[in-house]
């Protein structure tokens, strides 16, 4: 079995109908970088714990050390997340935990299976400036200034902050960079909050259907080559949705995001499991010319951000187009300086 095939079978571990995980295709020291890059070390540990994977003792020890290191990082991240939630709560700012920290406590049977490398919090666009101020006052650091005074609340996907040991905290205004990020109905993201327990405290996150849409959008529009850990999230969320797919599809379609929903869901086929109804739907979905053009803005690394900025400009209203264009074409001198140091965001993607 190839390393890529083994990683895919690992990502499908425990899903209905998924093939068994084969033996390690290479020495564990050679596999661990790829396993970590795909955020699958927790799945390896889970597979060993339930007997699906039986590495030799030395390999097992190497895996145990890598998993423990990741779990220590996750515990630090959750501690920082609780501090951030406290800060926002004290400032009266409504928020939702996104992605890893929420998924870990909602989806797998054991949260130790899900590794994540940063924290993601969603706030309303109108609250993003005051959220940044509150978190910076509490000790967070913003590596780069916004592209313009109103850029964060009008155009940014998220603002990146660093806090306590340089852990990354992404404060989201929306769920995606580029044109689809502007199409998402951000108000709807605050409907029907679900609570997950962190250290005995209830923190608010999205309901499963919105997590599924977010996970699909992230897989479809995020990294050019998605992490298999994120693909696994998507397959697990699709399984939870089961036959209740119509509402999910209607939500995404209502935003104009049915195409990235389908594109993201199609990636789960690589895991080799029995497809759930919404995964089956994704393979029958026909992408129209408008979405094909929009999706090209996310393909390939070279020129990606320029293409996203251009495609974003097309979905904005006239007043926003002007401000967006000015912000991208004439960033503040300080920001140019930050970007030249490698600290700044790609245009139209993240701010700060």
């Amino acid at each position: 079995m190839t390393t890529d095939g083994w990683l895919a079978s690992l990502a499908g571990h425990g899903l209905p109908g998924a093939p068994p995980i084969g033996e390690l295709p290479a020495p564990v020291g050679e596999l661990l970088p790829a396993v970590s890059a795909h955020r699958l070390i927790g799945v390896v540990a889970a597979a060993i714990a339930d007997g699906a994977l039986e590495p030799d003792p030395m390999s097992r020890d190497e895996i145990a050390v890598a998993h423990e290191t990741s779990m220590r990082e996750v515990l630090l991240l959750e501690d920082v997340l609780l501090d951030a939630v406290d800060v926002l709560g004290a400032a009266g700012i409504d928020h939702r935990v996104l992605k890893g920290a929420a998924i870990a406590h909602m989806v797998p049977e054991n949260p130790s299976e899900r590794v994540f490398g940063d924290n993601d919090l969603l706030v309303r666009a109108a609250d993003i400036d005051s959220s940044v101020v509150a978190l910076v006052d509490a000790g967070a650091h913003r590596p780069a200034p916004p592209l313009s005074a109103s850029f964060d609340r009008r155009f940014a996907k998220s603002v990146t902050l660093r806090w306590r040991g340089a852990t990354e905290l992404d404060l989201h205004r929306t769920l995606a960079a580029g044109p689809y990020g502007f199409l998402i109905d951000r108000a709807e993201l605050f409907r029907d909050p679900v609570e997950v327990l962190l250290a005995g405290r209830a923190v608010r996150t999205l309901p499963s259907d919105l997590h599924l849409v977010h996970a699909a959008i992230h897989v479809a529009l995020g990294d050019v080559e998605p992490r298999l850990g994120n693909v696994r999230d998507l397959a697990q969320l699709a399984l939870r949705i089961g036959s209740h797919l119509d509402a999910v599809i209607e939500t995404a379609a209502g935003w104009g995001c049915a195409a990235p929903l389908a594109v993201g869901l199609r990636t789960t086929r690589a895991l080799g499991h029995d497809l759930s109804p919404i995964e089956q739907w994704s393979h029958s979905f026909r992408i129209d010319a408008v979405d094909r053009r929009r999706l090209t803005a996310y393909a390939e690394r070279a020129g990606r951000f320029r293409r996203q900025a251009l495609a974003s400009w097309r979905v904005l209203g006239w007043r926003d187009r002007l401000a967006f264009g000015v912000a991208l074409l004439a960033p503040r001198a300080a920001n140019r300086s930050a970007r030249s140091r490698g600290n700044g965001p790609p245009p139209g993607r993240r701010s700060g």
Partner: protein
């Protein structure tokens, strides 16, 4: 001094690993690693247990004398309470009814 009815603190963050449990107490900068008996102790204390019952259970699991388990466990429980991992009221063993 040991707890009459120790229990996991609800306000800690924790994760299983392959060989241990990692616990991050509130406000702490240090992660406490519970391996071996500590891991078994953590598993047993999802619900509060009287110390004597806890020792009896672990004694049965590990096929050991309850008095030996109690002598080994008492300082561990006290230490984990002091480090913010477990909660419990410190009482003398003879109050442990």
């Amino acid at each position: 001094m040991i707890s009459s009815s120790p229990i996991r603190r609800a306000d800690v963050l924790w994760r299983d690993t392959l060989d241990a449990v990692l616990v991050r107490p509130p406000g702490g900068v240090e992660v406490v690693k519970l391996a071996g008996t500590g891991r078994a102790l953590w598993a047993a204390l999802e619900e509060p247990q009287r110390f004597t019952d806890l020792c009896a259970d672990l004694g049965a699991t590990h096929d050991a004398e309850v008095s030996v388990i109690a002598a080994d466990l008492a300082p561990v429980v006290s230490d984990l309470i002091a480090r913010g991992v477990l909660a419990g009221h410190d009482t003398s063993p003879h109050h442990d009814d």
